[in-house]
């Protein structure tokens, strides 16, 4: 069949397979289109990142930007947009442009420029995944590039100070989130019931905002007021990334695991009671209760999964 494909990208945390929006977009697309990718997350023992992540290597081809990687996957017949009409394909391009112009600056700002966020979360996380001594240099470089990008694209007059630029980009980002929420409405994905390229991009941009725990979270708070977008992210995480285990778990992940253990015990007690009640009902043609033992196997996974199993 197709040649084996390897994706090098930044790893994950807080329940996400990757923290990096572009890496996450590619991983999501691969899941949606069924492309068999071997994912190598960057950690200390891996080769130092040569350039921008994510990078796809297949035989001798090395491809580096998400749009190009997705094109390559489509050429290999892994096409998540197969059933889209031409107009929907055009809409995809337009909405991706909207994400890049209106949401990406604020996303970059939250991760790389907001001082508290950068110093307490982003920098330590990335530095721990790069070999010394590059770990001293690369996060700073990424932060400078992010600031540069924001200032050059959004920072002209009549906005003269960084605070004005920040206010503008967050306004734009919140408006963009509102527009996405209106466009998604009550459907499961942006174009009906199957996820497509646009879903991969939206997920890639939204999930880090949604899940990563920063000290300064104005964008996350705004996002949480849009329940259909939150549900969209959670659905993709539970359906497509259920078995992902990240290489390193930050502290947040550990407490989540401890909570998960306690919750599992409580739930198992409940399930024993329910089983006894169900013995009486076994004569009627009903499904036996789903065994909840699978919860113990979900390592480093979803704190949301026991909740979704409990609700009918």
């Amino acid at each position: 069949m197709a040649a084996p494909m390897e994706l090098s990208c930044w790893g994950g945390g807080w329940g996400l397979p990757s923290l990096h929006p572009e890496s996450l977009t590619v991983m999501a697309y691969a899941k949606f289109s069924g492309a068999p990718l071997t994912v190598n997350t960057i950690n200390n023992s891996w080769r130092a990142p040569k350039g921008d992540m994510p990078v796809l290597v297949s035989e001798d081809t090395v491809i580096s930007q998400p749009a190009k990687i997705l094109n390559f996957l489509r050429k290999q017949k892994y096409n998540a947009d197969y059933e889209l009409s031409a107009k929907q394909g055009a809409d995809t391009l337009a909405y991706i442009a909207l994400l890049e112009e209106k949401l990406l600056p604020a996303l970059l700002h939250t991760f790389w420029i907001e001082a508290e966020n950068y110093c307490s979360v982003t920098k330590p996380w990335f530095a721990s995944r790069i070999a010394f001594p590059l770990s001293l240099y690369v996060p700073g470089k990424m932060s400078r590039e992010a600031l540069n990008r924001i200032l050059l694209t959004k920072g002209g007059p009549p906005l003269y100070s960084l605070t004005e630029v920040e206010a503008q980009i967050y306004r734009d980002a919140k408006e963009c989130l509102n527009l996405l929420s209106k466009r998604l409405g009550t459907s499961q994905f942006f174009f009906g019931d199957t996820p497509t390229t646009l879903d991969a991009f939206v997920f890639g941009f939204l999930a880090p905002i949604y899940k990563v725990c920063f000290p300064r979270v104005q964008l996350q708070e705004h996002l949480k007021q849009l329940p259909n977008l939150c549900r969209f992210c959670d659905d993709i995480l539970t359906c497509y990334f259920r078995l992902t285990v990240s290489g390193h778990s930050p502290a947040g992940q550990d407490t989540a695991d401890a909570n998960l253990q306690k919750l599992t015990q409580l739930v198992n007690k409940e399930s024993n009671l329910i089983e006894k009640m169900d013995d009486n009902l076994r004569r009627s043609p009903q499904h036996p209760p789903r065994k909840l033992t699978t919860l113990k196997l979900a390592a480093g996974g979803e704190e949301s999964s026991p909740m979704s199993r409990l609700s009918p």
């Binding site: 809409d91 909207l98 209106k102 050059l152 007059p157």
Partner: protein, 266 residues
């Protein structure tokens, strides 16, 4: 101040400022100016076009075009649309929320791909820069100021291209992106006369860029050929031109019969 904006009706002497049409203006600025002119025409708001060599420096944001209405100065299509809306004129009021989201997304597509491609072509393609851009951009000024100003602008634009990762693209890749964008616009337009059921700012923006690309003579025809591949887009441009620029000689963006190639540059 938005209250006072709304209170005053649109004055007779509203003016739109751009660079000198025949010698100085570049592809991207011409496109933006035409988009604003089309938008104002669609809103039925009269405006005079005034060409000044120092228009770029007069603009509050450094970007063109800008309009001078009453005692307010507003630049670029986005803020101008907001300003006009505050005065009670809007083309997109009839759209529902999902359509408004779509309109905004397509406007970002045009800015993200078409405008950036125009900027790339005129400031990062060495042949075009040498033969067209430098002579035109600095034309109102004496040597050495003309060279200094245009090198400064070139450096600024190239920095931005590098930040958004376009600097590494080849001309072929940029033309590919233009083609992709035109394909998307063509698909979205289909056989309808406008992108939505009546003209909106999206139609004005698309017209501004596509018409300028079609009627501007550059070093090669490659850019305009990409647009010409889509017959519904060329028909769209012709239709908007006839409808909104046909009757008035002064406001007409062309000086002879459409849709022949015209030398707006060179």
């Amino acid at each position: 101040s938005s209250l006072s904006t709304a209170a005053e009706p649109w004055p007779e002497n509203a003016a739109l400022y751009q660079q000198l049409k025949d010698e100085q203006i570049l592809l991207s600025d011409n496109a933006s100016s035409l988009a604003v002119q089309a938008f104002l025409q669609m809103c039925n708001l009269p405006v005079r076009v005034i060409c000044r060599a120092n228009a770029e420096y007069m603009s509050p944001s450094g970007k063109l075009p800008f309009i001078h209405v009453g005692n307010q100065v507003v630049s670029e299509l986005g803020p101008i649309v907001q300003f006009v809306k505050a005065k009670g004129h809007s083309l997109s009021d009839g759209l529902d929320e999902v359509q408004k989201a779509e309109m905004k997304a397509y406007m970002e597509l045009v800015n993200n791909m078409l405008l950036t491609a125009e900027l790339y072509l005129q400031w990062c393609d060495d042949v075009t820069v040498e033969e067209i851009t430098h002579p035109r951009y600095g034309s109102p000024y004496p040597w050495p100021l003309n060279r200094i100003l245009s090198y400064q602008k070139q450096w600024e634009v190239r920095r931005k291209m590098k930040a958004i990762e376009w600097a590494g693209k080849t001309l072929e890749q940029v033309l590919e992106d233009v083609d992709q964008c035109c394909h998307a616009l063509s698909q979205r337009l289909g056989t309808q006369p406008y992108f939505f059921n009546k003209p909106t700012e999206l139609d004005a923006l698309v017209f501004g860029h596509l018409f300028t690309i079609l009627t501007t003579q550059l070093i090669t025809d490659e850019l305009s050929e990409k647009v010409k591949n889509y017959s519904n887009l060329t028909a769209f441009c012709r239709r908007i031109e006839q409808q909104y620029f046909g009757g008035q000689e002064k406001e007409s963006p062309t000086t002879a019969a459409p849709p022949a190639k015209r030398s707006l540059l060179r």
